[in-house]
Each structure stands twice: as C-alpha cells, then as structure tokens.
Symmetry: C2
Subunit: 145 residues, 2 copies
C-alpha cells in the first residue's frame, strides 16, 4: 500500500469518525489530496477531482476541505496575495518558504526557531496556540558567497 493510499484511508477514517459520509465526490477529493505532493488551492483540487468524480462542484470541494481541516488531517495556508492552499497534515510540523518569482513552496523546519518562539512567548506571559512563519524568498543569483 502506497503512502497516498494510506493517507486517503486516514482521511476517510477521520471523516467517518466525525459522522461525515464518504460520497463519490469526497472519495475523489480525498484521493487527490492524498496524492498531492504540492500545495494546491481549491480550484486546482477541483480541477484534479473532476477526473474521478465528474460534475463535482467547487462548493463540495470547499465544504470537504473545511471538514478535513476541522478534523485536523489537512492544513490550510493563506500565503500573501493568493487564495488558500492545502496540504495533508501527517508528517511533522514544518514552515514554508515561498519563491516570490515562481510561487513555488518549499518546506523547512527549525527546532531552534520553534524553541526561541516558545521562549519569547513564555517570557511575555503567553503560550503559543499555533504560529505562522513564511519566508518570501528569491533564488540566489550568484552561486555561493
């Protein structure tokens, strides 16, 4: 069984557990999401889902995405000046770099930064509920310094 299939199964379980029915349309979207290795937006997910569930509507895509997000199995990212993009939330936490030229999204993570964030919040009397960190970047033109 591939990773994608496992993920699709995971999505299905999560929805069922929440009393959400798995329809033909939802199954299609779940598969599409499970297979996606990028960060597609709702319209793109709709486009991809139409192959497997002809006639699926954009509303249904949005509704299902919201349900999946509520169950915590996918994440919604609202990058600057763009519509929301989605990704499955099974690996460990990570943040994003967005190439401002191409729109490409690169994942990264830094325990050190996370620790500093928590430390700063605590010093000011807060606990972090969640955070958002995005680096808007441009490919280095001149090889290495």
């Amino acid at each position: 069984m591939t990773n994608a299939q496992q993920r699709a199964e995971h999505f299905t379980q999560a929805l069922r557990a929440a009393g959400v029915r798995i329809t033909r349309q939802r199954a299609a979207l779940l598969d599409v999401l499970a297979e996606a290795e990028d960060h597609p937006d709702a319209v793109e997910l709709h486009r991809r889902s139409k192959d497997r569930a002809p006639g699926i509507s954009l509303s249904t895509v949005y509704r299902t995405l919201t349900a999946l997000e509520e169950q915590g199995v996918i994440q919604r990212h609202q990058f600057e000046g763009a519509s929301a993009r989605f990704e499955h939330a099974d690996g460990e936490h990570h943040d994003h770099m967005i190439d401002v030229e191409t729109g490409d999204v690169i994942e990264f993570c830094s325990d050190r930064i996370e620790r500093l964030q928590a430390e700063i919040a605590r010093e000011m009397g807060y606990d972090i509920v969640h955070h958002r960190m995005e680096l808007y970047v441009r490919r280095r033109s001149n090889g290495k310094a």
Copy 2:
C-alpha cells in the same frame, strides 16, 4: 514636536515625493495613522478620520493606504481570519503575537530568529525578500511555571 507630528510630516513628504497630492482627506488620515499606537484596520481608520475630514470615503482611505504602503512608510498586515491591519513603519522591524482571545496585537522581535531564518534560506540557496512570522497565543493561566 511630538513623534506623531514627525510621523505625519514623514508621511506627507513621502507622498509628495511620489507626486501624490495632499488633500484634506489625506492629511486627516495621515494624522490618524501617525497617532495610532495600535494596529487598526481600514474601517477603523476611516472611523477615526471622519472627525477631521467629515465625508471622507472608505475608498479614499483604501487608496491612500495603498499609496503609503507603496512608499514603504506604512505596513499592511493580514492576520488570520481578519481584515488587513495597518501600522506606521518607522521603528525597526518587528514581528507580531496575536492574542487569540482578545485580538490584541503584541510586537516583539528576535535577532536570533532573524539570523536563523537567513541562515536557513541561504543554505537552501535563497535570499529572503521579506518574511512573516506571527505567533497566535493565549495568556498563561497559571502564573509562572
């Protein structure tokens, strides 16, 4: 001369330099922005500006905010699930913590985090154009650990 007056003057210069005319409406908004110590949204800025320039329209507020942002003298922040909020951009760079209960915005900055971000980007072959870091937080309930 107060800080606010200096800032208002700074805004005025920036706009004039860009060939933008200072109208009664804009002067009012500039003052409001210069005096603001919080992070108001367009509607709130409009409300505050109406005292000094009765009849000023929300469109004018938006148009002027856009111009100021283009000149780099104010910053626009798009926090999660809220309309854009603005602040003057004269002090040094900082990031934000948002109290998820109250909506309060707290400023902070960490050179160490900034350095780590730059380092990470560089390692992956990128330069940072700008970044966004927001901590969504909740006040610690139990005093200090």
